[in-house]
Amino acid sequence: MNSLSLSAVSNPVPRSLPLPNPVRRAAFGKIVLNEARLTWRRPVGLIGGVGIPLLLLVIFGELPAFKQHQASFGGITIFDAYVPILAAFGLAMLALLGVPIPLVSYRELGVLRRLSTTPVPPFLVLAAQAVIQMVIAVTTVVVILVVSVAAFGAPAPVSPAGLVLSVAVSIAGLLPIGLLIAAVARTSNAASVIGRLTFFPLMFFAGLWLPRALMPTVLLDISNYTPLGAAVQAMQDSMQTGFPPAAPLLVLTGYALVFGFLARRFFRWE
């Protein structure tokens, strides 16, 4: 007990000296590490974001009807049409459920409040969550792409650069929606309910139940302006025709800006 040496009283107190960058970087590294551990130890997000779309991909890949080229799909197979839809599924799961649920539970528990009494700004936890969920999201897209091409004979993406851009813009458009859910939900249960209520309609417009190629014009018009509809459109074009058109990319950028502003405006730390 005598060896306890906690105080730094002998040092003078400098005024308002910002935390040195190496300390801040190391702190962010530790936060990311612990968030990653939590994601791994409570793998609901991993199952929903990676497992389910991958499982659906394999099931669809085994259905003979999905292997036939369809005139109504612009000459591609149903399976090919589902590749970007399932990629969007993974992105949406992670952004709409994977990001807000832990953040809201941290607020409920007082984790964010506790952090705001340390020299480290609590938004680093948001940033860490975003980093981790998006690493998983990118992994999901890559895995879906590789499995679809290598195991089920889907064509390789026509415009890899376009696909990278589409995925990046899709993430940028979806993530702030998840952060806004985290901002408005008071409990993690509420976040989970709001996340699901957002996820399923958006997935409808992404074409999960009715691929975009089969949607009536009215639905397709709506789909074009939903974040997941735009994401699927951008990714599908990159995979099957070439560099995506500006429209879906602009729609997603719009979501990024508007929801980014709202999330920032309404986010509460306690």
Binding site: L109, V111, R114, T117
Partner: protein, 319 residues
């Protein structure tokens, strides 16, 4: 008097129409253990939340070693370690992982191994937070408050929910921490804790400081002094004692003498009697405590309206 570690002047904080803190002022000297004692809802927690910069005060000034907790927020967070009343950790992080992360937030952190050892958490290092008992969580929370080697530690209801043995261990720890030079601001509603640990105590009620002094002085104020009861070995004149400056009243109750007074009353009485060849037997010192002081000053009991945990009820009954 040394350096002023904490200076709060006319702090006021309202939530809508509810006045949480009406007018609170006190200052804490470096190296002191300063207690804020009061019933639930007195404004204790709001006071420390304002003090550490978690909430902006409506009016009044707060300085921690000369720094403003809002304007110099970053620096204040480096020199002040906080243990909050309602704050948990993610269930599936291990004790070591949490400490290691918090350690990385500070430029000159404490040695985690030593801290974990002192707090009796060494065996729990690899355990998930969710598997810790209430007492272990409290100790981890204290560890997190100290891991940055703060100059000021703010501990809010540190021993609430601890069993009596764990509570005494926590008190020992606080004394050790103070011995290393840390100023401690301790929020509590346990009299025993304040009397045992605090150099000075602010009694808070309805958002105001109703009294501020050392625990013995507050207690003495409650009854106008302390009382010594004893059986004298031989008869003597009341005047022998009543002329002492420490003595305010001398009474006889059957065989017992009851002497009321202030200051070093016991020493004065016993030495005077000894000089007169009288021995005092069965000496009982009936000193009033902080609870008495509180009742006298506010007209209410500290723990009366609290039934939050079994533990508090027990504490209330025994004090």
């Amino acid at each position: 008097m040394g350096v002023t570690a904490v200076e709060i002047e006319h702090l006021r904080k309202t939530y809508g129409s509810v006045v949480a803190v009406d007018d609170v002022s006190f200052s804490v000297t470096e190296g002191e253990i300063f207690g804020i004692l009061g019933p639930n809802g007195a404004g204790k927690t709001t006071t420390v939340e304002c003090a550490v910069g978690l909430r902006p005060p409506d009016s009044g000034t707060i300085r921690l070693l000369g720094l403003d907790p809002r304007a110099d927020r970053e620096r204040v967070h480096e020199i002040v370690g906080v243990q909050l009343q309602a704050s948990a950790m993610p269930a599936k992080l291990r004790v070591g992982e949490i400490l290691d992360m918090y350690r990385s937030f500070y430029r000159e952190p404490a040695d985690v191994d030593g801290l974990i050892e002192v707090l009796g958490l060494a065996a729990k290092r690899g355990d998930y937070y969710k598997s810790l008992s209430g007492g272990q969580r409290q100790r981890l929370s204290v560890a997190l408050a100290l891991v940055g080697r703060p100059k000021i530690a703010v501990l809010d209801e540190m021993t609430t929910g601890l069993d009596p043995a764990a509570r005494r261990e926590a008190w020992d720890l606080i004394e050790d921490v103070r011995a290393s030079g840390v100023t401690i601001l301790l929020v509590t509603h346990f009299m025993e804790e304040a009397e045992r640990l605090c150099d000075r105590v602010a009694l808070v009620d309805n958002g105001r400081v109703v009294a501020l002094d050392t625990p013995p002085s507050l207690a003495a104020r409650a009854r106008g002094g302390k009382t010594v009861r004893f059986v004298p070995s031989a008869p003597f004149e009341d005047r022998l004692l009543s002329e002492l400056p420490e003595v305010t009243r001398v009474e006889r109750e059957a065989r017992h003498m009851v002497v009321t007074g202030t200051g070093e009353l016991v020493n004065a009485v016993i030495l005077t009697l000894a000089a007169a060849g009288v021995t005092a037997r069965d000496v009982q010192l009936d000193s009033s405590n902080l609870e008495d002081a509180f009742v006298r000053l506010t007209g209410k009991h500290l723990t009366k309206d609290i039934s939050k945990t079994q533990d508090i009820i027990k504490e209330g009954a025994s004090s």
